[in-house]
Amino acid sequence: MAKKEYAFYPGCSSQLKGSASNYLVSVDSMCKTLDVKLTQIPDWNCCGASIGYAESGELPRHVMNARNFALAEKHLPGQDVVATCAACWLNAKESKEKLASNQTLRNDANEALKEVGLQYEGKSAMRHMVEVLIEDFGYDELKKPVVKSLEGIKFAGYVGCQTNRPFGINGESFENPVYLDKLVESVGGEAVTSYDQKVTCCGGALAFSEPDKSQKQIKDIVESAYDHGAEMIVTPCPLCQANVEIYQGEVNKKYGTKFNMPVLYYSQLMSVAYGGSTKAAGLDGQVIRAKKLEEIAVKVIKK
């Protein structure tokens, strides 16, 4: 298969020593195996996230995203823009839709973009990495490079909110999306399909401003994974990953639970299954170590 190329929008949390830096490490490893070339959009900026609304207003928020698109169109023409972060994807996609449907807004955005010598034309498509995997490769194609099956590990596929709503992945239902379960199965893992908290909100940015309320959400998400026999949680969203992983200790203090469940990215599973090391799969970036995956990662493949 020919090399696939995309304009890459990694997002703030993926940067070196950022809270999701191990996500990017594992994505790089996965893409190397799949022969995908990701070229970062030069000088990309923050999408504004969903939480910036108090002061962002409407146009400034869309202009932030329009700048990234304009940079991609200028430097990487013809390539789809791909984000790994759920919020980056959602916000960029929302801006693109708004700018496409509202001529006044588009003119205004371009007036502001003149300040940085750029122009938004809306040519590049906005896609999430899981869309690339599912639509440009497909589950069967993703199975082919597997050299170490994740057989025997039970994963709760925690989809969360922002890759699922309001846009979602094409062909999936909002209430019970199954793409993550299928990705788990494509690398040989066992998907806990009865997991009933797969689209529950982790509190998002309110994990910071309303910790008690958000930790109740996180408790439900982890508890249900245990109740359904999962050994690990897997997610496509950096904020879901961080919230559900790092607050388990706080939840334990408040609720007397003994949670210690690893929370992984789909890309880490794929990296390990494709023969990636602990480091290449970003498993050394886990706060709660995924021992069973690390054991598979260090195994030597017999040829």
Partner: protein
Amino acid sequence: MSEALNQQALASYRNNFLREVEEKVEEGEWVKMCMQCGVCAGSCPFGPHWEHSPQKIFMMIRAGKREEVLQSDSMWMCTSCYNCVVRCPRQLPITQIMHGLASYAHRLGLAPKEQPTRHFSALFWNNCTQTGRVNELKLTLGLYFKDGLVSGIKKAWALRNIGLSMLLAKRLNPFEILKGHECQDKAGIQRMLKKAHEIEARHRGLNG
């Protein structure tokens, strides 16, 4: 400036709060389409924590309860999960309307003063637009220390295990306090955003 904006809005809309929302609030023109089914109220993850569901807020807007709506802390409970949006039978962009109302109340200076998400929301936008990229360390510290030094140290101490584990996992950089990731053209981004705010204020009549 916010008080002047508020007086201006009061004078020009008198008792027609619905029209004020339609003209001043992002996606506000959708409010009249709500059919009061309550699916949004039942779909919100923070449902047990607010006083007014989106459904109630929409009815209150139509009933002209301006102060109660703009002073409500309900909009600030939105986690941006978009459950209400995908379930709304009329497909109202409820999440965006909640953000729009919160933002408007914030601009008029009517939003609840000690609302933690109001504080965090403003902190986040100022953080990410300063250099074009989020400085995660400054964002976290800004949140801990919002009520002063002593309370900040207490909060940081209470959550020290999280900070330490993130540091060990190389997912937190203490040197971000000095300099974090940033865009090369941060000056350009500032100019671009200033322009965007000017244009928006012109369109929405928000020049106080």
